[in-house]
């Protein structure tokens, strides 16, 4: 009997074949005495083992056996509690490297918001600020004109240097002459 056929007979004994395969093999089996002997031996061994599983007893007392299990359970539970705490700390440590940049950003945001609130406050009179921003050039210049029949002349004077050298009243007198 070849190996594949022997394994097929074993599958037949173990009920691992389909109904159709089992019926076909049963017919072959009836004509093969060697196969019948192999199948009989396989069946006998199977039944022998299934009905006579060896029994054993733990070679330790109940208290001693349980004591080791209990200590291991308690050790693992304590370890997992410690792991939970250290896991939390690790998360906090992980976040700590982002703490300095985050604090910097927070300070900048705070200052920006505070400044905005200050400038937008309606209670603060900031009208002078707008005036201060406008440069009045009139105080540094003066103008004089001459008109004839077909001519109109305008003199523009830079008075910033004159203001330092001459008193303001003399300028007025000059204007009076014109």
């Amino acid at each position: 009997m070849n190996r594949d056929l022997a394994l097929k007979y074993q599958a037949f004994v173990d009920g691992e074949l389909s109904d159709r395969e089992a019926r076909q093999l049963e017919l072959t089996l009836q004509q093969d005495p060697e196969a019948q002997a192999v199948v009989a031996e396989l069946r006998a061994t199977k039944v022998l083992l299934r009905e006579n599983e060896p029994e054993m007893a733990v070679p330790e007392s109940r208290e001693f056996y349980w004591g080791k299990i209990q200590r291991e359970i308690q050790r693992l539970e304590a370890e997992s509690a410690t792991d939970a705490v250290s896991g939390w700390l690790a998360v906090v440590r992980g976040w700590r490297r982002f703490l300095a940049p985050a604090a910097g950003i927070a300070v900048i945001l705070f200052l920006a918001i505070a400044a905005l609130r200050f400038y937008n406050n309606p209670l603060i009179d900031d009208s002078n600020q707008h005036l201060a921003e406008i440069e009045d050039l009139a105080e540094f210049t003066s103008a004089s004109t001459f008109r004839s029949d077909n001519m109109f002349v305008v003199w523009v004077h830079d008075t910033s240097s004159l203001a330092e050298a001459e008193p303001q009243s003399e300028l007025i007198e000059t204007d009076d002459i014109f």
Partner: protein, 200 residues
């Protein structure tokens, strides 16, 4: 908390439910009831008393840790047996990595060794007492390589199908069939040889 007497009178289902809520006394009672069976399974696979004690205790610890996952689809002892079998398989894989393949496994790979064994037609266990019979079966199991012994245990004692055995052992169904065939034939031959020894 229930007293020791109360606990002893409870069924496995109630003890499991109490243990799932954290009652260690209930779990201890479950261990006391089933420790021999779990140890026996570990011993039958490992063939070492020390390893069987250690692995069975490890299985109980794992059982406690995974107790909330136990839904009652099978009996508690069947569930625990599956845990200890998986631990033994892991341990045997470690052993296998540490040593060369056994001669028996090499013989099996070369193929056809079992065909040289004579077919046993006479019942080699006739007239034996049950205790003696079990001792002989245990002795014969000890003569097998761990691959053949494991397949035999999973098929005959745990009554698993070829497909499930292949999944657990990480091999093909063909390998399971081949190992099972060899293991059965070897067992029959060994039992017959013990009978002959007794007669002579």
């Amino acid at each position: 908390m229930a007293t020791q007497k109360d606990i002893s009178s409870l069924g496995d289902d109630k003890l499991v439910r109490a243990a799932q809520k954290g009652d260690m006394a209930a779990f201890e009672e479950l261990i006391a009831r089933h420790r021999d069976k779990i140890y026996a399974r570990a011993f039958s696979m490992m063939r070492s008393e020390e390893e069987a004690v250690d692995l069975s205790q490890e299985a109980w610890v794992k059982g406690w840790q995974r107790l909330k996952q136990f839904q009652g689809d099978s009996s508690f002892v069947t569930w625990m047996t599956r845990i200890v079998i998986n631990l033994c398989l892991d341990q045997l894989r470690k052993h296998k990595r540490q040593r060369a393949e056994s001669i028996e496994a090499m013989e099996e790979d070369s193929g056809g060794v079992e065909r040289q064994m004579p077919i046993i037609t006479v019942n080699p266990t006739a007239g034996l007492e049950r205790r003696e019979l079990r001792q002989r079966i245990d002795k014969a199991m000890g003569q097998l390589s761990y691959e053949h012994r494991t397949v035999l245990i999973l098929h005959e004692f745990e009554e698993l199908e070829y497909k499930e055995i292949a999944r657990r052992m990480g091999c093909s169904i063909g390998t399971v069939m081949s190992r099972l065939f060899y293991a059965r034939r070897k067992m029959a031959t060994l039992m017959a040889s013990y009978k002959r020894e007794e007669m002579s």
